[in-house]
Symmetry: C2
Subunit: 593 residues, 2 copies
Amino acid sequence: MKNVTSDRVRIKDGFWRFYADLNRRVTAHSVYDRFKETGRFDALRCDWREGEPNRPHIFWDSDVVKWMEGIAYLLEEAPAPDLEQKVDAAVAEIEAHQRADGYFNSYFLSVEPSKIFTDRDRHELYCLGHAIEAAIAYHRATGKERFLNCVLKYVDLVYRVFVAEGSAAFVTPGHEEIELALLRLYDYRKDPKHLELARFFIDQRGNNDKEDTRDCWQADRPVREIREAVGHAVRAGYLYTAMAMLAATDGDEALKTACERVFSDITTRKMSVTGGVGAEHDGEKFSYAYDLPNSDTYNETCASIALALFGNAMQELVLDSRYGDAVERALYNGFLAGVSLDGDKFFYTNPLEIDRKKYARSTYQPICERVKVFRCSCCPPNVVRVLSSIGRYMYTVGENAIYCHQFASSEVKLTVGGKEALLAQETNYPCDGSIAFTYHGAPTTLYVRIPDWCVEYEGETENGYAAFSVSDGDRVEVTLPMAVHFVEANPYVQDNAGRCAVQRGPLVYCMEEVDNGENLRDITLLENGEAQVKTEEGLPAPVLYMSAERRPKTETLYALKSHARVPFTARLIPYFAFANRGASDMLVWTMVK
Amino acid sequence: MKNVTSDRVRIKDGFWRFYADLNRRVTAHSVYDRFKETGRFDALRCDWREGEPNRPHIFWDSDVVKWMEGIAYLLEEAPAPDLEQKVDAAVAEIEAHQRADGYFNSYFLSVEPSKIFTDRDRHELYCLGHAIEAAIAYHRATGKERFLNCVLKYVDLVYRVFVAEGSAAFVTPGHEEIELALLRLYDYRKDPKHLELARFFIDQRGNNDKEDTRDCWQADRPVREIREAVGHAVRAGYLYTAMAMLAATDGDEALKTACERVFSDITTRKMSVTGGVGAEHDGEKFSYAYDLPNSDTYNETCASIALALFGNAMQELVLDSRYGDAVERALYNGFLAGVSLDGDKFFYTNPLEIDRKKYARSTYQPICERVKVFRCSCCPPNVVRVLSSIGRYMYTVGENAIYCHQFASSEVKLTVGGKEALLAQETNYPCDGSIAFTYHGAPTTLYVRIPDWCVEYEGETENGYAAFSVSDGDRVEVTLPMAVHFVEANPYVQDNAGRCAVQRGPLVYCMEEVDNGENLRDITLLENGEAQVKTEEGLPAPVLYMSAERRPKTETLYALKSHARVPFTARLIPYFAFANRGASDMLVWTMVK
């Protein structure tokens, strides 16, 4: 089974078109401008000197190349000459300042050349990983070879230093990413050296005497022995993605089992209802099982992306709709909350509750408004590249089978039975659950994921997919009933005991103070009340108006339990749309009766 | 109006006798032993030198003299020759090492003599304040004058340095206590100099150019302008107590108004249902209004004591049962949780929830088992002195009126209309709510506080007190119906939205994991279910057995809201009794339906 790459998919209109356009119009430019003004592009000249402003940082190159990757996907879809020119200029700087042996990292070359390859926690191979992905995408989009050649030269150096000579001060990178990038490179170029290098970094992890074995950096055991998700959630997610890709490439059953195990640990014990992962802000890491707090959860935007990538990789390995379910949950909620509706502001962390009064406490609290750039600004360019490559998550092609995991008004070019085929989706998803597929190509079976939220679906399913035999010209209609659901968490999730999340289709909803007044936690939604679904200007998905009640205000601090309630209509908006109208309290998990 | 001092009250049996005996038998000795072995008594010799073990600390003297004060109250009640001998030995050390000018502080004399009276945040006057209280108590109990003379000499020095010469590097102490102590000394000795010194420290606070004005140390404004409770909760409580005492002494209406205002702010916005105050662990301070978290609240044992002292002082100033209500809430819950049922282990902080899994989080979490001594061990000797002076909180005598604020099987000697009178209480309070008073003395009016929790009381009340005319030999019976109540917090208390505390009489109840299994937050008590009240071995108050339900265990992380419930009988114990059976999760605020 093979995922269909984003260049084969065209998003036509609807929800993801809204975001693709926003990205092309605003996000891609804004991220460039912020990176330009903070010196990230200038740093590529490797001529920064002590005392000058904009001191480079070890992860700056990754910011830049992730943005370049995002632009490459935009270019696959349609020309954007100004953006392409900016990418070319960056490539020229990299090419010009790459060391003769292939090494390139703007921080180390300008600030600490003596520290090259001396510290596994300083992101050199992480930066290279993102550069590999970007170079592949740019080559695929434009046919231009300079960036890819730079990267191939650097990869050769890494192979020599880490595998052939073992002369670096560490064995595996502290921040994973290069593993999955090398596997993409192998997939793109079929050079066995790249597969070997990927395998080396994966197999050596937790499996050598040179490195510390803290579990917080996924270094406590060999990867095939991983039993649960621990440590830095983004690093972990990138590693697990690479493990799944390698398992598929090598047919490695032990690795596949480890991947299934850890995916299950995440999605049944360590994932917010929004698909946010990595609850513990200290170390940006997975917390213990069922520790899914609300206002003080971390849930980095990049961690939701990593979960989507992991699910996407698992789709090539195991036929089970739960992978697509998790990808959907992450993309529509935890990931998408990372960008503002006007496209130029970002969250690094994505809380499930904001209580601004708590800012007076000494404990960790999330910011309540998005910002244009962070000092550690990994998320914004990650948003750019995901929004421009959303097609990547939609389809897998197997032996005479097409698997549709995600829904969007779109067309995809596929190879079925060795021949070109075309599959179109007409849908207004996730605003409603009707999807019409039109197929042109050789006879095959179309498998359509029936999402986990769609408990009302009555047709037969196989591994969570509804199967349809299709021949040239066939039209298949699938309707996913989209009721407003009250979702409860496992009783072990102590922070949400007695509370429900409201979900409609893949979208998790939340209440904001700006709509519903203060003291959001005291609001109760009525299980048998009204729930109006309304499409409103400026939002790519509907809002909900629901019957609710709250306690009247009172002067007393403590009193006998009362039954007095003030009825009102609560306005709920999609979680991804929170914090777009100024500072406001917000709540996902609400009381229901 | 005048509070009756503890030496006039004899606790005969019942609840507070249980604790008085425990104190006499265990607590008083254990605190001494711990302080002895940690060098606190030896430090009084002022001969510690750098490099030796048990380096003295700036607040050690306060630990020692608070213990001495507690012993003095024990001696008022009955002889305890071994303890008296230990107090005498300590007095002898203080006397022997007091400087010629009267100064005494074991830390400064042995470690930093050059720093005497240079830093307002280093507890010298706080230590002296506690010494004053201890010396009065010891003099009253034994008639021995040496300790009191030491203290009077030191107070003279303080008067000279701070008032006459103004030669100290600061004006008012960073940690309040001496203010209320000086007012007790004035009350005991009627030396106007002591009143003047107390007035000086109170009036200069927030009212001079020499000192920083951070609100966290109650230094942001003159005391008559205080509008809300801020800063370190123990320091604040001691200051407010002194303000109330001074307002009563001086008939100072502006000061009285400030006291009423800040008492109201505490009890209607900043007090846990247990009478715990000072929610913010960072700075041990009051948090913002209605910020009353559970597992991460601070609620220092000493802060509940300070609240009880403040309420006690207000009883001399304003006739209103809410002062006695707060004293009762603090004493039976937030304070008493500070000591173990076997008397020799203590909590410094008193959370309303323990979820031991949260210990894996990076954020502040309370300890879940009491310890015998702390490095900063202010609470244990404070427990000793409160348990041996509980009579202090019970009565106020006004012009031809006796006010009974607290209930205990006891006898009190009073002066009514210039003549000796005797009032006995027979009661099993708080196990049940029947109280029989027997009075011997001149005709007067007995006012009995009808507690705020007793909403079922049907008799007439005046400022919250039921009035009874009594003559010699009269017997008055008061019955306070003691139902099991579900208490809810103000909707602004976001942490407890949708939850209730269970209260019976003055006792707040809690559930422990050891009785009720894990996931306490997922338990729902049934509003119309059974609630059995049972007296059980080893506990001085009853436990409750209540109809409850919880969700069945499940493998899924998220699912549609279910109505499946497993019924069971929850066991609730008085909050003060939690954490006496090993490490266990605990919860006060529970769901009710």
